[in-house]
């Protein structure tokens, strides 16, 4: 066979497909893919709605013309597909491909139009299989933009359509084959198990593609105070007061992210997701730093300089030695402070604004408000020097004297704090060892609590924490450490931002909640810059793998399940299923009842009814087993057969009496089977006779 013949044979149209279930499932899978793309913002409502209608119409037309496909439709569809490709390449021409909208949105539109064109020419099973496979591409494009678990609804719907379609495909290919309920359950179970195993063993996705530096504005308005930190009302921030669980303070500013960090404030933050972060590794995402401590609050003396470079913004400053690149994309979920959070040290920022305000202390301020839907990307150079390298560094070097004095300044002498710090670090030879000694002492001698008494007037936060109750949260703990470091001549500052938050292995995003706002200490090491130390809690910074995280999450979820309620639901479901089963198997007629009881009695006596035996024959056998010469079982069987096949039904009273006589008969039969035998066996007990007015006798 020549190559041309092989190609012709491969492209030969298949037999028409008559299965409606397969067509509906394929259409459903494609439409679900379209809906998923629409939900992720890759299609407009017009395109999505129009494509849905056209796909449905196309599938219907294909079904009606499956026996004789329209000959002129293929050229038209081919021209439409070529036109879609030409449009796609035109969309990309001249675009700077770094924004999500420049590639993935036209790609989604292209896939949709190819599916629409294909829907009009799917007469055979093979064509429908291509449609089903095509819906996979739509789901892939939508999944690339999904950042929360809500996308799972579309995945579930698409899986359902896909599996129904595949099973229907088998049913059509096997001329009526079907999977039983157990087979379907086993198939779903195996697919799920394999999916989980593959998810667990595959390495975590990397954010490495040049194409994926998204930045999107959510309609944030310009803020009136350049470089100022915005309150949620759009004005420059004011000293924050305890506010709502999502961090807003109601009077302006966001709790912890204002021009002042007031450690006297008490409050608790909630679990609302404020942003989601896709990053190559977990980091502390720094928002701003503070250098001026007054005994109660931190203030920032920063000189912000606007940079009008346009996106991407190069961050002034050099890269630390031996730094590793780290790309992070931030998806804002709640109205947020106009700080550009990032892993230290930011190098390049893709931000949807014409300018950004940079400060020397790593603070990056946005000129526009950041609301839900805003996206920006930061390329950072993360430096992780070894302890030996830090031990070798001398904090007295590398900073200008004026700068150094700023980070050693204290509002007043802390004699007790200084004496404590000196005693703790007496045996630490290097600055790094001193830092570690202080962290170890804090871990041993203080306790973490958000429920601490308010600070009285004139009280100093550090004195109260170290020499008072020794209870506090991140602000008290980190401030105390910073003050202790300054008191022994080590430059230190306060940093605020967010810890990574829980990692979602499905979306591959860190879900940062309001309560993940955190304060920690930064210490200057020449050659390595400001290094972060968190004395508050030991947060593991190991790179999580999706599989391990998933297993841990599953185990935690199982442990948190309300087992009593689950057991109750399972019990109720079992009872309901048992009741349904009993209802279905319950004999519908009196004759069926009698027949079942006769068979049950025979089984109890060790004599099952043979397939070729009629009920009357079986009853006669039971009479012999019971030694009943009057043929009581036979009389009952004759009544039942007359009722079932002859339409001669007994009166209700007769029927009831007949049923009531069965237990005694059954006992007699069992006795006969055990000892008597057919001849000479005990006769039926009194009252166990068939009703005298039995119909048909």
């Amino acid at each position: 066979m020549s190559i041309l013949d092989t190609v012709r044979r491969a492209n030969r149209p298949g037999p028409p497909e008559h299965s409606v279930a397969l067509r509906v499932a394929c259409a459903g899978a494609v439409i679900t893919g379209i809906a998923a793309c629409r939900a992720e913002g890759e299609l407009t409502w017009t395109v999505a709605g129009g494509a849905t209608v056209l796909v449905a119409v196309g599938m219907f037309v294909s079904y009606r013309t499956r026996e004789r496909p329209l000959p002129w439709i293929k050229p038209i569809l081919a021209a439409a597909a070529v036109g879609a490709f030409i449009w796609f390449f035109e969309q990309l021409t001249g675009q700077v491909v770094y924004d999500v909208n420049t590639v993935e949105n036209p790609l989604a539109v292209l896939f949709v139009w190819v599916q629409v064109a294909h829907a009009y020419d799917v007469p055979a099973r093979r064509d429908l299989a291509f449609s089903l496979a095509g819906s996979t591409s739509l789901m892939a494009v939508a999944a690339a933009q999904a950042i929360d678990l809500g996308f799972g609804l579309y995945v579930v719907a698409w899986i359902a359509f896909g599996l129904v379609g595949l099973v229907a495909m088998w049913g059509s290919a096997s001329e009526g084959g079907r999977l039983r309920a157990q087979g379907i359950a086993a198939t779903l179970g195996v697919v799920a198990a394999i999916s989980v195993v593959v998810l667990a063993v595959l390495p975590a996705p990397q954010v490495a593609g040049r194409i994926d530096y998204p930045a999107r504005s959510a309609g944030g308005l310009d803020l009136p105070v350049p470089g100022g930190l915005a309150g949620d009302g759009g004005a420059a921030s004011e000293p924050a007061k305890p506010g709502s669980p999502d961090g807003r303070s109601r009077v302006g500013g966001f709790l912890g992210f204002a021009n002042r960090l007031d450690t006297a404030l008490r409050g608790s933050l909630g679990s609302q997701v404020v942003m989601r972060v896709r990053a190559q590794r977990p980091s502390y995402w720094i928002g701003e730093t503070f250098d001026d401590w007054d005994g109660v609050a931190w203030k920032a003396n920063r000189n912000g300089r606007p940079l009008f470079a346009g996106s991407p913004f190069p961050v002034p400053g050099g890269a630390p030695v031996g730094a590793q690149p780290d790309l992070q994309t931030f998806y804002i979920a709640q109205p947020s402070p106009n700080l550009v959070f990032h892993a230290d040290t930011a190098r390049e920022v893709w931000f949807p604004a014409r300018d950004l305000i940079f400060s020397d202390d790593s603070t990056i301020v946005s000129p526009i408000g950041l609301g839900p839907g805003a996206i920006y990307t930061v390329q950072s150079d993360v430096d992780t020097p070894t302890p030996a390298e830090l031990r070798a560094a001398n904090p007295d070097e590398g900073l200008l004297p004026s700068t150094r004095s700023k980070y050693l300044e204290l509002p007043h002498p802390y004699p007790h704090v200084t004496a404590l710090a000196v005693s703790i670090t007496a045996h630490a030879p290097s600055a790094y060892d001193k830092v570690q000694a202080l962290i170890a002492w804090i871990a041993r001698h203080t306790r973490y609590s958000t429920d601490i008494p308010p600070l009285g007037p004139g009280q100093d936060t550090v004195d109260e924490f170290l020499f008072g109750n020794r209870e506090g949260f991140c602000e008290q703990i980190s401030t105390s450490m910073a003050v202790m470091l300054r008191s022994i001549g080590i430059p230190a500052r306060e940093a605020v931002g967010y810890v990574p938050g829980p990692y979602n292995p499905i979306t591959d995003l860190y879900e940062v909640e309001a309560k993940d706002a955190h304060a920690w200490v930064q210490v200057w090491f020449p050659g390595y810059g400001w290094q972060s130390f968190d004395p508050t809690a030991s947060v593991p910074l190991a790179n999580p793998t999706p599989g391990v995280t998933l297993l841990h999450d599953v185990a935690h979820a199982l442990a948190r399940l309300p087992w009593v309620a689950v057991a109750a639901v399972v019990a109720v479901a079992a009872v309901a299923m048992g009741a349904l089963r009993w209802l279905r198997r319950r004999p519908r007629s009196w004759a069926e009842q009698v027949a079942r009881r006769i068979e049950r009695a025979g089984r109890a006596a060790g004599r099952r009814r043979l397939p070729q035996e009629t009920l009357a024959e079986y009853a006669s056998v039971l009479d012999r087993v019971a030694g009943d010469r009057s043929g009581t079982w036979r009389a009952l069987a004759d009544m039942a057969e007359a009722s079932a096949y002859g339409g001669r039904h007994p009166t209700p009273e007769t029927g009831r009496r007949a049923l009531r006589s069965i237990p005694a008969l059954r006992a007699a039969t069992r006795r006969g089977a055990r000892g008597g035998g057919p001849d000479g066996g005990p006769g039926p007990t009194a009252g166990a006779s068939a009703p005298a007015d039995a119909v048909g006798r």
Binding site: A144, L166, S174, P205, G209
Partner: protein
């Protein structure tokens, strides 16, 4: 391969069958799946989107089940022949009633036949049976059928097949086609009787009644005549008027030639028996030469089905007068 009389599979062996399922034309499905998954893995790994990886894992699981699952289905499928005929003719379809534990395609290989689907389906019960048709190409005796069972469950992505040997409930004797008979000498006419116009009758039809002779079959007693004649009377059956002949069949080694000769032999036997001539068939079977009278086409077909070929020096079909003694014994295929 010429039909071999009395083929038997040794106990416990699977002659002609393989226990290992194998895929049918797997290149394109496998290549497509590997390409899709490879492209997906590349995009997911470098796209940084966890949902892409999650959806890709589901696709991978589905493809794996769809490509490998049918092998397990075929491995576990069990096929049995519920009912089969005892006699057939070469080249004519033979229908077997089969049942399977799961829905599979069954294609007979030895003897060959078209594919049919057997097993529970949407419109059939769990123990539903279906007909599988055999098209035996030549004569022979079959105690089992070699078939290929195939399935693509649950998703229809890739078909897997396995050869199995299925025992028939009764041996299937495939006789040769009815060929042209040899040219036979004219039968001498039976001049007995006075009627100038005689209607022909078949051998075995009642002819009249006569008095009982010791040794007559008691079932042939004609009671009305007995009552009328006041002595025991029995029915007299029409007997063959022609002289018995022996049809000697020696088949050549070439299977095609043997088949043609067997067809002529059958045609000759049928022509003779239709004319009322007792026929003694002399054939060579696996156990040796067998000489016995045959009553009709069915018995002759069975004998020829068991005949082996190429075991003698002389070939051909000959018709010779048979000794009376040969015809006095048991007649194969005669009805009582």
């Amino acid at each position: 391969m010429s039909p071999t009389a009395g083929r038997h599979a040794p106990a416990g062996a699977v002659r002609g069958g393989t226990r290992v399922p194998r895929p049918v034309r797997p290149f394109i499905p496998l290549l497509s799946s590997v390409t899709v998954l490879g492209a997906w893995a590349l995009v997911a790994h470098n796209g940084g989107a966890g949902w892409v990886q999650a959806v890709g894992d589901i696709v991978a699981g589905t493809l794996l089940v769809g490509l490998v699952g049918p092998a397990a289905v075929v491995w576990r499928a069990r096929l049995r022949v519920v009912d089969s005929p005892t006699d057939a003719t070469a080249g004519m379809p033979v229908e077997l009633l089969c049942a399977a534990t799961t829905r599979v395609g069954v294609r007979p290989l030895e003897p060959s036949g078209p594919e049919a689907f057997v097993g529970p389906g949407r419109h059939t019960a769990a123990d539903a049976r279906a007909t599988v048709t055999l098209l035996p190409g030549g004569r022979g005796v079959h105690h089992e059928v070699v078939a290929a069972v195939s399935s693509a469950a649950p998703f229809g992505l890739l078909w897997w097949t396995r050869r199995i040997v299925v025992r028939l409930p009764v041996a299937l004797h495939v006789g040769p086609r009815l060929g042209a008979p040899l040219s036979l000498p004219p039968r001498p006419d039976d001049v007995g009787g006075s009627s100038t116009r005689r209607a022909t009758t078949d051998v075995g039809e009642p002819r009249g009644v006569r008095p009982y002779h010791p040794g007559d079959n008691r079932r042939r007693v004609h009671w009305p005549a007995t009552a009328h004649a006041a002595e025991l009377m029995v029915r007299e059956m029409e007997g063959p008027t022609a002289e018995p002949v022996t049809v000697t069949v020696r088949l050549p080694g070439d299977p095609a030639a043997a088949e043609r000769l067997a067809e002529r032999a059958l045609g000759t036997v049928v022509a003779l028996t239709d004319a009322g001539t007792p026929v003694v068939l002399d054939t060579v079977e696996a156990g040796g030469v067998r000489v016995a009278q045959v009553a009709g086409r069915r018995a002759a077909g069975r004998r020829l089905a068991r005949t082996v070929d190429g075991h003698t020096r002389s070939e051909g079909v000959t018709v010779t007068p048979a000794p009376r003694a040969r015809t006095a014994g048991r007649v194969e295929g005669a009805t009582r």
